[in-house]
């Protein structure tokens, strides 16, 4: 049954109660009007409801099954946050409503900015990027703006570990940089010698995440940070793995200059079958002048927008309005639901669950990619031995898991580990 909605469409079908009632006048000149009706489906409301209800039933989802997709943090998205963010005052606010009519919403943004500063250890936050990748773009554009402002125009390279997520090199390219790969050592940490060799006057910056995409904590991050800064480059932190260290360590203290957060991961806003997310960027003093507009400040008791006029060095606007505003409200509610203790529970339970699952898989005979290392919020196993022995590959394993009603882990990522599974049970799963 994969009939499309067009297959069930029939001339004259319609959801009559959705049509506005009345007689309409028009002053649009004939030449602007379309002559043909667009070929949209012609169906009843029941047909629509039934068709899309049944389509939904063909998806795996957190709400239906265990979804240990590494790097994606498929944890429980509280229904309460969705409900509260759907209050009419939030849903019906027009983006151009003046600040005087928007104190509720602006107050929410300001509060979220403050929480994210605390969580990351950075000094300023702009909430507008619409997903991790747009946050990356903002981050690298800021690095670019920083160098340009200093007239330091020879820096044309962004360093990226071989294990990095594909968005990192893609982003560097979008910002007009060349991306240069840095090897990862046997133990999963960045190869310091390779790094040293790559650093130089053309280094604009480095993009890292910690725990890394090898699912281990980059232990020599302080050394890396000094090396990069000494070479005149800046450090970019990919926030996708922040849930692993929430309340345990802060990127700000590790020496990072800029990071986007993936609110749809760390702050549990729904993935929605491919978004929306939100990728706020946090920066230190160095990059503060460049953060994207708009953002919110508090003057006395009133909240107001900061736009271009007050931020002449900003990299500018990244969306028509205020990014994925509704997602920001959801994330704030989730953060408030967690609170001080809850944030610690995130990193602790995420790590505990991953470590436990890793231990169980090791006991069952599977091979960890980095057996000497602690698991973080996720861990990597290599199915190379099994693949050779059984003549099947990691993808076959993954598909077989689907047959058992468990979503497959992330496969073949990071690219440098052969036949791997990146497994992230997340903190909201229980033992059952």
């Amino acid at each position: 049954m994969s009939r499309t909605i067009f297959d069930i469409s029939a001339k004259g079908g319609m959801a009559w109660s959705q049509h506005p009632r009345g007689e309409w006048r028009s002053e649009i000149p004939e030449e602007h009007l379309r002559s043909d009706a667009p070929r949209l489906p012609e169906v009843s409301e029941l047909q629509v409801v039934r068709h899309f209800t049944n389509l939904s039933r063909k998806n795996f989802a957190i709400d239906t099954a265990f979804y240990p997709l590494g790097s994606c943090t498929m944890k429980y998205n509280p229904r309460g946050a969705h409900r509260i963010a759907s209050l009419p005052g939030f849903l019906n606010r027009h983006p151009f409503a003046p600040a005087g009519m928007s104190q509720g919403f602006l107050g929410c943004l300001f509060e979220l900015q403050e929480i994210l500063k605390e969580v990351t250890g950075m000094v300023a936050v702009s909430l507008s990027p619409m997903a991790g990748a747009q946050g990356e773009l903002a981050g690298v554009l800021m690095i670019r703006a920083y160098h340009e402002a200093r007239g330091d125009n020879a820096r044309t390279e962004i360093l990226v570990p071989t294990a990095a997520h594909g968005t990192n090199p893609a982003t560097a390219t979008m910002c007009g940089y060349r991306s240069r790969e840095i090897a990862v050592a046997e133990d999963g940490d960045v190869d310091i010698d390779a790094l040293k060799a790559a650093l130089g006057p053309s280094t604009a910056g480095i993009m890292l995440t910690n725990p890394s995409t090898c699912a281990v904590f980059e232990r020599r991050i302080e050394e890396i940070s000094s090396l990069v800064h000494e070479a005149g480059g800046l450090l970019y932190y990919d926030g996708a793995n922040l849930n692993a260290i929430l309340g345990k360590a802060r990127p700000g203290a590790m020496g990072f200059d800029v990071l986007p957060l993936n609110l749809h991961k760390t702050f549990a806003t729904p993935h929605g079958g491919g978004g929306p997310g939100a990728g706020p960027v946090a920066v230190n003093e160095r990059l503060k002048p460049y953060i994207p507009i708009p953002f919110v400040v508090k003057d006395g008791e009133r909240f107001r927008w900061i736009e271009e006029v007050e931020m002449p060095q900003s990299i500018g606007r990244l969306s028509a309005f205020m990014g994925n505003a509704g997602i920001l409200v959801r994330a704030l509610i989730y953060a408030r639901m967690l609170g001080r203790e809850g944030m610690l529970r995130v990193s602790e339970f995420a790590t505990l669950n991953a470590s436990y699952l890793a231990a169980r898989l090791v006991a069952a005979g599977f091979q960890l990619a980095y057996p000497t290392r602690r698991a973080t919020h996720e861990f990597l196993i290599s199915l190379q031995a099994e693949s050779k022995e059984l003549g099947i590959n990691a993808m076959d394993f993954a598909k077989r898991l689907l047959d058992y009603g468990v979503h497959a882990p992330t496969t073949y990522f990071p690219l440098l580990v052969p036949e791997c599974f990146l497994i992230e049970p997340t903190e909201t799963e229980t033992m059952d």
Binding site: S2, R25, N77, I84, G132, A133, C175, G274, G316, G326
Partner: protein
């Protein structure tokens, strides 16, 4: 669990973090709140912004959203699924995207559509980058837009493409804000918004044909509701637009401060390899059963890394779901009558404003569902502030972007606006303008 892992405490699990970096939680954050307490607190916060009536547009519109749209979209299977990379686990979302692409193509009169990008503004940026890739051999690095392009779209596209050295310019407007191409220009691409930011209808045929004569590609920026009624970009001029983008918010997405919504992108079949973002296609599995999958994935960042067509990963899937359900419910007839109702409401509003207040139309050209009125005596910001006291959002003041248009206000009446609301809005304008006279 601790024992099975072989440690003695949870803290041991974090032992690889150097002591110098360890912190102990967030002393400044408050303790966690219950859902009940948060519901109460945020209800009060959201109430602060509640409006009675909205006459603002400018890229975000107060349309009716059928209850079925979000009832279905909020099902856990749509809400809490990941991006449909694993086709077997995502047939629902994949088929939906496929249907979405078909609908958006039908609406715009184009051959192919992608599964959306972030929003209308960033869709324009992606279209510009795409045009640049397609015009690699073109002499110019200039992209030229009609004068009344949404200023925030212009700014967004500029921020995003600037890193690659691409320049965005605006045509000079005529008196009425419409754009007439200047023979001297020779851009690689021309951006045309229809209806334009002022709500007015550009002479798209002339501009498109001129652009194509110059060897430029045409990027159209459109409002999907207007396409229930207006000529689709695929049939503008002799050959039609080459790339079409827009924002999906009018298709069943709440205004919600402008986001999340989704940006759509369509093009000709021959350009599909340069179309960024995901595309779902129909396919057949080993048993000959048909199914849906992401096609052309090789362009994506997780495979081509530095050479991908775009860095977009997480995108606006859920909003595409809502938009697809909305278009299915409305169908051609519903979309058309919605568009007609919007035009009619705005027409009556503007006529009444001209008849009963000191304000006048700023530009005397045909419009769709937005129109600029000139208040003459007071600034549009002042009017908006005054009407806020009556819980009316009067419109979008233009002075923010064009200081010489400080007395001009962009107003919009969608199909939701009743005659009573229009009457009381016009009364309020009279009151506000009168008070200043």
């Amino acid at each position: 669990m601790i024992a099975e892992i072989g440690v003695t405490s949870i803290d041991d699990l974090f032992e690889e973090i150097p002591a110098s970096l360890r912190v102990d939680g967030f002393p400044t954050l408050a303790t966690g709140d219950s859902e009940m307490d948060l519901a109460r607190e945020f209800a009060a916060r959201s109430r602060m912004d509640e409006l009675a009536v909205c006459f603002a547009g400018g890229g975000c519109y107060d349309h009716h959203i059928p209850a079925a749209v979000w009832d279905i979209t909020s099902r856990g299977e749509f809400l809490t699924a990941y991006t449909p990379y694993q086709a077997e686990a995502s047939q629902g979302t994949l088929q939906l995207i496929y249907e979405f692409q078909t609908m958006i193509s039908a609406l715009t009169g184009m051959e192919v559509a992608n599964a959306s990008v972030y929003d209308g503004g960033s869709a324009l940026a992606e279209a510009v980058l795409m045009a640049v890739r397609l015009q690699k051999r073109h002499a110019s690095k200039q992209v030229l837009s009609t004068a009344a392009l949404h200023p925030n779209y212009f700014d967004t596209a500029t921020s995003i493409v600037r890193g690659q050295g691409i320049v965005l310019d605006c045509m000079a407007p005529s008196e009425d804000g419409l754009s007439v191409p200047d023979a001297a220009d020779s851009p690689l691409a021309v951006v045309i918004q229809q209806p334009n930011f002022f709500g007015n209808l550009e002479d798209v045929d002339t501009i498109v044909d001129w652009a194509h004569e110059q060897g430029a590609l045409v990027i159209a920026v459109v409002n999907p509701i207007s396409l229930g009624l207006l000529r689709p970009p695929g049939s503008w001029g002799e050959r039609g637009a080459d790339i079409v983008v827009g924002d999906g918010q009018p298709l069943g997405i709440p205004m919600a401060s402008g986001g999340p919504s989704f940006g759509f992108m369509c093009t000709r079949s021959k350009f599909v390899r340069q179309l960024p973002g995901r595309i779902a296609g129909r396919t057949v599995d080993v048993d000959g059963k048909s199914g849906f999958t992401l096609t052309l994935q090789a362009r994506e960042q997780h495979i081509r890394r530095g050479k991908a067509t775009s860095n977009i990963c997480t995108n606006q899937g859920l909003l595409v779901t809502a938009g697809t359900i909305y278009m299915s419910l409305m169908g051609p007839a519903g979309l058309r009558s919605t568009a007609q109702a919007c035009h009619d409401r705005t027409l009556r509003l503007v006529e009444k404003i001209e008849a009963e207040t000191f304000a006048v139309r700023a530009m005397d050209v045909p419009f769709f569902h937005e129109c600029v009125i000139d208040l003459q005596s007071i600034s549009a910001d002042a009017l908006v502030d005054r009407l806020a006291s009556r819980d009316i959002l009067a419109g979008v003041p233009l002075g923010h972007w064009w200081p010489d248009r400080a007395t001009q206000l962009l107003v919009c009446a969608t199909e939701r606006r009743t005659q009573e609301e229009i009457d009381s809005f016009v009364d309020s304008i009279s009151w506000a303008l009168g008070a200043n006279a």
